[in-house]
């Protein structure tokens, strides 16, 4: 059981790192827009194997991929770390409190929202210190996060269904 958990965490972390690094190479129309497709892996891990596994996968993904990309301990890393941790915590709390209320799409939306909220908060605390500038980009970020959140939720849903179909235990 224990070693199987480790194996799963390692496998999902590897997927998440690959997706995260690939996403970093994609050009996006709006410069600071990230699709957050690595969150699909976090979402699937959370629904299939629980909160602790999801948290491990997120931490491994954020730290290792930042080392690979070369932003470790830089400002981008701080933003990505806080966003990833807070979205995983938010999704985990929602999933353990109301497991039947939200499906993968709702969880993904919550994750995207908290990811954006944490990044805006950190940007305000550490870098910008100007509430107006943060407020102006907030609606745009929430809207974009909602769109990517829905898409990620659907893909995560397909992934979760495929994995549960193939492993009957």
């Amino acid at each position: 059981m224990q070693s199987q958990d480790k194996y799963r965490i390692a496998l999902f972390s590897a997927y998440a790192i690959a997706i995260h690094s690939f996403e970093n190479l994609l050009p996006t129309p709006i410069p600071w827009l990230r699709l957050g497709i690595a969150n699909i892996i976090t979402l699937a891990t959370l629904v299939l194997y629980g909160f602790r596994a999801a948290m491990m996968v997120t931490l491994i993904r954020v730290i290792l991929s930042s080392i690979f990309i070369g932003t470790f301990l830089g400002p981008g890393f701080i933003m990505s770390f806080c966003g990833g941790v807070s979205s995983t915590v938010a999704m985990g709390i929602t999933f353990s409190l109301f497991p039947r209320l939200f499906g993968p799409v709702g969880l993904s939306l919550i994750g995207a929202l908290f990811h954006n909220a944490a990044q805006l908060f950190i940007a305000y605390l550490l870098f910008v210190r100007q509430l107006e500038a943060i407020l102006i980009v907030t609606p745009l970020l929430i809207l974009l996060g909602t769109i990517t959140g829905v898409v990620n939720g659907f893909i995560g849903n397909i992934l979760i269904n495929n994995i549960t179909d193939k492993s009957p235990q």
Binding site: P31, W32, G74, P75, G76, F98, R100, L101, F102, G103, P104, V105, G106, L109, I110, L113, A123, F127, V128, R129, Q130, E132, A133, L135, I136, V137, T138, P139, L140, I142, L143, G145, T146, V150, G153, F154, N157, I158, N161
Partner: protein
């Protein structure tokens, strides 16, 4: 057989979408769209360009005169251009060049986090009056 597979996939897609999901989605879309309207009302186009380096005020320039200035940041020089009542960052020593890709702005801010340079557009006067107007309608 293929069509049945597609149908099954469609069912799978909507199967786990609960009512709460749809409500949350609707709420988020509503909040963000009303946020756009609120921002347009609450923060009109600015008149001043304020450039901060590492949180400290470095330059204050009017938005209606065209200039190009060089701002010394933490890791190098950032070039800021003011033209036609809009501001942009034209050159930056940072790696990802997010600040350059942000392009022209006439409200809000362009931020270059690696170089700690922030370019704000705000109003030099009448800010308090505007706040009171917004409250009293």
């Amino acid at each position: 057989m293929k069509s049945s597979e597609i149908r099954r996939d469609k069912k799978v897609l909507t199967e786990r979408m609960t009512l709460a999901d749809i409500l949350l989605l609707a709420a988020l879309v509503t909040i963000s769209i009303s946020g756009f309207v609120f921002i347009k009302e609450a923060f009109p186009q600015g008149t001043d360009v304020r450039i901060e380096v590492n949180g400290k005020l470095a330059y204050r320039l009017p938005l209606n005169t065209n200039t190009t200035i060089t701002v010394k940041g933490i890791i190098g020089n950032t070039m800021v251009e003011i033209k036609n009542k809009k501001v942009r960052i034209t050159e930056s020593p940072c790696l990802n060049k997010i600040c350059i890709h942000t392009g022209w702005i006439d409200r809000g801010a362009v931020v270059c986090i690696p170089n700690r340079v922030t370019v704000f557009v705000d109003r030099s006067e009448g800010k308090e009056n505007k706040a009171i107007d917004a409250i009293t309608g």
